[in-house]
Symmetry: C2
Subunit: 482 residues, 2 copies
C-alpha cells in the first residue's frame, strides 16, 4: 500500500452519511454489530482474525491536510464538516472476540458503540480487515485439519490479491495453524517462521540437475530440501538427490533436516515411489514435501490414498481461499441510545428470514460442557442479562423455537466472548503475538468435535438467543410487519 | 500495509537462491518471462494491469538496516551476502505490455533481462502485483460487457482481501471499464471517480423512511439516489421516494441526477415495477440502480429478463473475482546470456504439454486485420526476427502445427507489444493516468469480436510461434527428452 494512512479506506457513502448526521445534528450513540451469516466453504465454524490490524487502523484514524483537500475537491462536503473532520478522533467503545477464537454465524465479532458518525466511518475498513483475515485463518484451519498434524506451509504470495493480501493473509494462515510462510515480509512484520528452498530456475541455471543439487546442499546443508521434478522425478530428480544425500553422509555432514519437494505429477503415486527410493537408500527420515494446487480436499484425498507426504506447501487455494474467496461479514445497526441512556433496539427486515438482524445492545456467551470442555452452544443475549451456572439453562433454536434443550445446572460453564478493545476512544487491549494466537487457536480447535470439523455436512454449533432477546426481536418484527 | 518498503515482499527461496548465485559467483544475465496459461473465468481474453505499481516496487527496491538485521536474524545469510544486499539496486532491463492491453495465454506480459540474482529477487512481487490487477481488470471488463454500456460501479472494498486488494482492485476495476468506485482512498490515490449514496443504517437512524429520504434529498439534491428496500421496496420505499421527488419538483429543485437503488429482492421483477411507478409519477429519467451479489452472469440474465436497471453496483464478485480468484501468472527462466553475449535458451519440461515453457529471448507481435482493425493472432518470436507487412505471413497453431493459415501481404499490420520499462535499472516509461488507461482499454476491447468476448465457449485468439522459435523449442525438447 503506497500510503500508511488508511483513514480514507472507506466507502464514499459512509462519508456522505457522516456529513448527513453532522448536518442534521445527530450525535446519537449507536450500536453496530459486525457478524457473518454462513461459514466459509460450507464448514462448521470459522476462526476470527484481523483484530490487531483493526486496532492499528482505529488508533491511526485522522484526516490529514491532504485528505481534507482531496475531500474538498469532490465538491460534496461543506467547510464546517471538513473542519470537524480535521479534528476527528475516534471516541467510542469497541468490543471484539479475540483473534484465533472459533466463531459461528450471526454472533457479533466486533461491536462498536460510538456516535453514529464515527461508527459509520469505520464500517468499511473494519469489515475489510476482519473479513479478509478471518477468511484465511479459517481456510488455514481447514487445510491443517486435513494434514492431520503434518506441517503446512503458506506459499501463496505470488497469487495473493495484492501485497497486503499476501502479507496479512500469511499472518492469518499462521493463526489458523500453518507452520510458517514463504513471505519474508510477513516474517519480518509478524515474527513468524519463514520457509522455503529453491525453484526450478535454480536447477535450470546449472549445466545439470546433479550439479545444482550439489551446490545447494553445500550452501544449505542443515535445511536441504531438493526440488526433484524439473526434468523427471523418478528417473532424474530422485537418483540425483539420493546421490547428493549419500555424498553428504559419506562426508560426515549431519543430515538434520533434508529431503525432497515435488511440485507436479501424481503426488499419491510419486510419493510412494519416492518414499521407497529414500528408504532403500537408507534415508528413512528424509522429508517428502509437496506443493501444486493443494487444498484441504486434495490433501484429505492424498491421505486416503496413502500418500507418504509429510510436509505440505499450500499456495493459491489457501491465500485466496479459492473456493470461497469472501467471508461475507456485515456491519449492521443494532441500537441507538436515547437521551435517557437507554439503547433503543433497531431491526433490519428482509424477505430472507436469515437476513433479519438481531436488535439491541448485546453480549455473546459460549457455553461449554464441563466434562468434555467442548462447546455446547453459543448464546446471544442483551447486555445486563445474568446467568447462573449452577441453575438449569433452557436453550432453543431461534429459527425453530419448538426445538428445545435443557442443560442441567452444574454441567456447563459460561464464557463471555466479547472483550473491551477501545473505551472512550482509548485502546485498552494488547494483542498477543501471532505465535501465541496460533497456540490459543490450537486450543480453541479442541473445543469442537470432529463432527463439526469435517468438510461435508458438518454438525452445526447452535447460536441461540436468550428469551429476552428473542421476545424483543419478535415484538419488533410484529410491529414493523403489520 | 503497515510498511512502504516492499523489498522483503518476496518468497524466502528467492533469497536463498540469490545467496546461492552470489556464493557460486553466478553473475549471468538471465531472461525471465511472466505469462499466464489460461484466461480467467474460461473467457477469451484478459486485460493486463498493475504495471505502474510494479514500476514503483522496482524503483523503491532497497534493503534498509531493519531489513538487513531481520535477514541476519534468520541465521541463513552470510555477512558478505548481507553487505551485497545493503548496496543492492536493480540494474536490469524490463519490458512489459502496457496496462489496459488485451492479452492472451502464454505470451510474455513482463520480460526481465537482468543478472539472475536480481531477476530472481523480484519474481514474487512482480507476479503478485500483475496477477492481482490483471485478474480484477479482466473481471471488470467482463462485467462491463454484460452491462451493455450501462454504468458499473465498483463497490467491493468491504469484501476485498485486505486494504490493498480493495484499493488496487478498484484501480484495476476502473481500468477494466468501471465508471468509478466507492473506495475513497482509491479515488484519492488514482484520481478516479468515487461514488455512493447511503446505507440502510441511514434510513434506520430516522423515525421513518420518508423523513430519512427527505433529509437526504435536502443534503444532496444534485445526486439523490435513494435506497428503497429497507422495509418494503414497492409498498414503502418507492411511495416514499416518489413523494420526495415530487416535493423536490414542486419546490423547483432541479432533478439532475436522481433515482433509486435496490439491494435485495428479485431485481428483474422489482425493477420493472419500479420503472412503471417512476414513469407514472412523471420521472422517466430517474436512475434505477441495483446491487446485491451481482456478477457478469447475473447482469446478463437480468438484461435478458428485461430488467430496467441502468446502473450496476458490483461488489464481492468483482473485487475478489469470486468464481476465479487467482490469475495464475508464472515467471519462468527462458534464457541465460553466455560470455559472448548470446542468449542460450532454457526450457522447463513438464508432463503437461501446456506447461512446457517457450525458450529464448523473445518478442511478441500483435497481428491486426487491416480492414477491420480486429486482432488476427499474436505471434511470439525471437528478438531480432523481422517481418515484412507487405509479404505473406504463414501462421500455424504450435499445439497442432498442421493447422496453418496464410495472411496475404498488405492485409495485416503488426504491432510490437512489449515496451521498454527499465533500461540498466533506470525507469524509461511513464505510466498514463488511470482514466487514460481506461480509455485505451476501451479501444483495445474494440479489437476483438463479440465471439471472443462472450462468456460461454468463446472463440480463441491464437498465440502462435514463429518458425524460428518453434524449431528451437522442438530441438530443445528432443534434446532433453531422449
Amino acid at each position: 500500500m503506497s500510503t500508511l494512512n488508511l483513514t480514507l479506506l472507506t466507502d464514499l457513502y459512509e462519508m456522505t452519511m457522516m456529513q448527513g448526521y453532522f448536518k442534521t445534528g445527530n450525535r446519537d450513540v449507536a450500536v453496530f454489530d459486525a457478524f457473518y451469516r454462513t461459514n466459509p466453504c460450507d464448514g462448521g465454524y470459522a476462526v476470527c482474525a484481523g483484530l490487531d490490524q483493526m486496532i492499528d487502523y482505529i488508533k491511526n484514524l485522522h484526516f490529514d491536510e491532504e485528505d481534507i483537500s482531496y475531500l474538498r475537491s469532490l465538491s460534496i462536503f461543506d467547510e464546517d464538516f471538513l473542519t470537524y473532520l480535521s479534528n476527528f478522533k475516534f471516541s467510542g467503545d469497541i468490543y471484539a472476540i479475540p483473534e484465533g477464537t472459533l466463531i459461528f454465524p450471526r454472533e457479533p465479532l466486533v461491536k462498536v458503540v460510538a456516535p453514529i458518525m464515527e461508527a459509520q466511518l469505520i464500517e468499511t475498513a473494519v469489515l475489510n480487515i476482519i473479513n479478509h483475515q478471518s477468511l484465511i485463518a479459517t481456510k488455514a484451519a481447514r487445510v491443517c485439519y486435513a494434514a492431520q498434524g503434518d506441517g503446512v506451509m503458506e506459499f501463496g504470495l505470488r497469487r495473493a490479491q495484492g501485497p497486503d493480501s499476501g502479507t496479512y493473509g500469511a499472518r492469518a494462515a499462521v493463526i489458523g495453524g500453518c507452520k510458517g510462510t514463504s513471505n519474508v515480509l510477513a516474517g519480518q512484520m509478524f515474527d513468524v517462521p519463514v520457509l522455503g528452498t529453491h525453484a526450478h530456475s535454480w536447477i535450470m541455471s546449472f549445466p545439470d540437475e546433479y550439479t545444482a543439487f550439489k551446490k545447494y546442499a553445500k550452501l544449505y546443508p542443515s535445511a536441504c530440501i531438493l526440488l526433484v521434478d524439473t526434468y523427471d522425478t523418478l528417473k532424474s530428480g530422485m537418483p540425483n538427490a539420493i546421490k547428493v544425500f549419500k555424498e553428504m553422509r559419506d562426508a560426515g555432514i549431519p543430515l538434520t533436516y533434508y529431503g525432497i519437494r515435488m511440485d507436479s505429477g501424481d503426488l499419491a503415486y510419486l510419493s510412494k515411489k519416492v518414499r521407497k527410493m529414500l528408504d532403500d537408500a537408507g534415508f528413512p527420515d528424509a522429508v517428502i514435501s509437496a506443493s501444486n494446487d493443494l487444498d484441504e480436499y486434495l490433501i484429505e484425498s492424498l491421505k486416503i490414498q496413502g500418500a507418504t507426504i509429510t510436509s505440505w506447501g499450500v499456495g493459491t487455494n489457501l491465500i485466496t481461499s479459492k473456493d470461497n474467496p469472501a467471508f461475507g461479514g456485515v456491519y449492521k445497526l443494532a441500537a441507538i441510545q436515547n437521551e435517557a441512556g437507554e439503547f433503543i433496539p433497531k431491526i433490519k427486515l428482509s424477505e430472507n428470514v436469515e437476513k433479519v438482524t438481531n436488535p439491541g445492545n448485546k453480549n455473546v456467551y459460549r457455553i461449554y460442557d464441563k466434562e468434555t470442555g467442548k462447546i455446547k452452544a453459543d448464546l446471544i443475549c442483551l447486555v445486563g442479562e445474568v446467568f447462573d451456572e449452577s441453575k438449569d439453562m433452557k436453550l432453543f433454536d431461534p429459527n425453530a423455537p419448538w426445538k428445545k434443550t435443557t442443560l442441567p445446572g452444574g454441567s456447563y460453564t459460561l464464557r463471555e466472548l466479547l472483550v473491551p478493545v477501545f473505551q472512550k476512544g482509548e485502546c485498552v487491549y494488547e494483542s498477543p503475538s501471532v505465535m501465541d494466537i496460533q497456540r490459543y487457536c490450537t486450543r480453541e480447535k479442541d473445543t469442537i468435535w470432529d463432527e463439526t470439523k469435517r468438510f461435508v455436512n458438518p454438525q452445526e454449533i447452535y447460536v441461540d438467543l436468550s428469551d429476552k432477546l428473542y421476545e424483543m426481536k419478535t415484538a419488533l418484527l410484529n410491529k414493523e410487519h403489520m
